[in-house]
Symmetry: C2
Subunit: 432 residues, 2 copies
């Protein structure tokens, strides 16, 4: 029998405990699948005494994760601590420096330091696995890095945050306000007490930056992601979306156009018939557009102990089987520093809602601004009449450059008859 | 620079030409991704003179695919000829015997001879790649064998035949009859002149047998697949399905229950809200239920030159990168000969449509048969009245054993007032 693969796990929250559970429960079949046993040798967490529902007595205990990374009897060090800096980063660097493979579920770490860590890992001849960092249980990193590696990928996008997708699904189904649904999501444990990381799009942006790197063979460039969250989405816009045949989803979209990379996370209107529109509740989905494969979508649970443990285990299994694939699909030395397509240059379709006073001449003023900014409207929708009161006016625009749209909206906001900040939601199309 | 990986391709139809195109177009990035060049050295097909839209002049030509497999200057032999016997099988065996890796898109070959070929390949220390054999461009074999390898998979199912899904989608959208839509699909090139392989479920059954082996670590057992096609699906049943909140899809379902494997391909009623129900037209989708990951669905194009070439390329890239994974997730020696759960023992929900004469007492007779067979009905739906004429009566049944259902339907068919063969469609549930 071959030598066991020895595993040290730092961080014993729900994912860490889930991983231990998985490795214990499936020890026999994993040995068959890997050709060698997978053997946990050491663990580390803050509180040794806490009951985590799994038996840890056979493993060496480390109070200090960095010490575990450097000194545990391990071929693979699993980092489940989180955060882009501090212990997580220190222990990852220590493990690589000690010649150990690293597997992590830490999207912030990879989004901020992926490129340098890839250089370090490949220089040390070890694997850096991060399947669990993007879209939980969905094996999307493997799909992009291996399964679709014969393709030139021009776009990768997805629903990358289950909390936002849950909130938007609930808002649509119940007609309630964002704050109301958020509070409920917090009670149900679908949203954190401090929800900003999720609802402001940062978590999705971390994942998107990683996806872009794997898909396009470029350096991870989190700073270049344009990020907007879902706090300003109102039931009124959801209702108009419905009427126009759309759903509103928080998407992360990365596209490669003429050697420029566009990375953006923001609410999108997507046609109800688009596959991504059917992904509801806490589910995640990632779609890749490849030049040979056309479109492939993967859907599954983006968070939770089981799905995340499944992804961590997949990286460990790869290491046990001796697979050695470049961290971001191409060797770190080949990763390109591709220029960013700034958001002003983004071209796309738009939905705009104005609240205007219902009086003669209002629309002539709006139309004049649009003409002056060379923005041409596709359709307009006005509902209800309330003379002298504010009423919503919804406009949609065919492909337009973001800079022109922004300029037009700034001028429209200054009109006396426009009583609220105009609401703009980008419309995302998928070869429809 | 590392040695190139040398590739010989047998079969230059649309997929073969697509593969050559892919390898030529992406030569540079593939070299970066693989750490070595991918170099086609030899090709084989029936007609050397035919223009295939790709430049083959640099490659050695073989008239005989078996000779190519044994003698070409190649590390990998790609089999794109098709068929479970004859040249495809001979050349695969010859390549393995000569110590070459094999990549194939041939589902019939793997469904019929997968286990023995896995033994041969692993014995010779070479890879046998067949990603392209199942669901075209969707990297589902990689997902099951690697990405989800930390899970115990209890069920894998999917829409595995694009022709059937296209026909069923068209029938639903247009209300037309099967024969009419099939003829149109043939004109459009979505169905073969002899459509039986697709519409009778054989193609889906090949793919299902392969999926079951990878998912459950058992020998490929195509003979054990229960197969029904879609010829008997009528617009009337599609209409009733709609009314009851279902769509009709041809699914392949493989489940592992108490150590028994159930493999079945047949039309299913699936809730409209189920993710698999949203997969329309020529698209394929495969869903895996794992004990840690929960449910993961992959959707994409199941056929065509580009998607199939993408999958073949993925297997070649794996070989170039030195990945060595057991053919069916566990070593061939560990593949289990699991017992089959016979279809009579299948437990599930059912939809049944009878055509009965509209006269007093009819339903009492039907109800008596159901009582005698210990089959209990969930709901009944009768529409329209036409005294003395045949009218449809639709019944649905909660979980029932197939043997009881079959016995009841045989007796019902014998009733004088039942004027057509009863139509039964199984209802598939997904943790709803």
């Amino acid at each position: 029998m071959s030598e066991p693969l020895k595993i040290a796990v730092a961080g014993l929250g729900t994912v860490g405990a889930g991983l231990i559970d998985l490795l214990q429960k499936h020890a026999d079949v994993l040995q068959s699948r890997c050709g060698r046993p997978l053997q946990v040798t050491a663990v580390s967490a803050r509180d040794k005494a806490k009951d985590r529902g799994v038996n840890l007595s056979a493993y060496q205990w480390f109070d200090d994760a960095v010490e575990l990374a450097a000194k545990a009897d391990a071929d693979v060090v699993v980092e489940l601590i989180g955060g882009s800096e501090g212990v997580a980063k220190d222990m990852t660097e220590a493990a690589i420096a000690a010649g150990r493979n690293v597997v992590t579920a830490n999207k912030a770490l990879i989004a901020h330091h992926g490129t340098e860590l890839a250089h370090a890992a490949e220089g040390a001849g070890v694997n850096l696995g991060y399947e669990a960092a993007v879209a939980g249980g969905i094996p999307i990193i493997k799909a992009l890095r291996e399964g679709l590696a014969g393709n030139g990928v021009s776009r990768v996008y997805g629903i990358l945050n289950g909390t936002c997708n849950y909130i938007l699904t609930q808002m649509r189904e119940s007609g309630r306000e964002f704050d109301d649904v958020l509070a409920e999501a917090q009670e149900l444990g679908y949203a954190e007490a401090d929800p900003s990381f999720d609802v402001d799009g940062v978590d999705a942006a971390h994942k998107l930056a990683i996806l872009a790197s794997v898909a396009f063979g470029c350096e991870v460039n989190f700073e270049a992601v344009h990020v907007e969250g879902i706090r300003h989405i109102s039931p009124l816009d959801i209702q108009f979306a419905e009427e126009l045949g759309y759903k509103i989803k928080l998407l992360g979209v990365a596209a490669l156009t003429n050697g420029h990379v566009e990375q953006r996370v923001h609410p999108c209107m997507v046609r109800k018939s688009a596959p991504i529109a059917t992904v509801e509740g806490v589910f995640n989905a990632v779609v890749a557009d490849g030049d040979f494969v056309d479109t492939v979508m993967q859907e599954g649970r983006g968070a939770g102990a089981g799905p995340t443990a499944s992804a961590v285990a997949a990286d460990i299994i790869d290491i046990a089987r001796g697979s050695r694939i470049p961290t971001f699909a191409v060797p770190a030395a080949d990763l390109k520093a591709l220029p960013t397509l700034p958001m002003e240059k983004h071209r796309g379709a738009y939905y705009v809602r104005l609240m205007v006073l219902d009086q003669p001449g209002v629309f002539a003023d709006v139309a004049a601004v649009l003409r002056d900014c060379a923005v041409s409207m596709e359709a307009v929708l006005q509902r209800g009449r309330a003379p002298g009161e504010p009423v919503p006016v919804v406009m949609t625009f065919h492909e337009t450059e973001e800079a022109s749209m922004t300029a037009a909206l700034e001028k429209i906001a200054e009109l006396d008859t426009v009583v609220e900040q105009p609401r703009m939601i980008r419309v995302e199309t998928f070869g429809e």
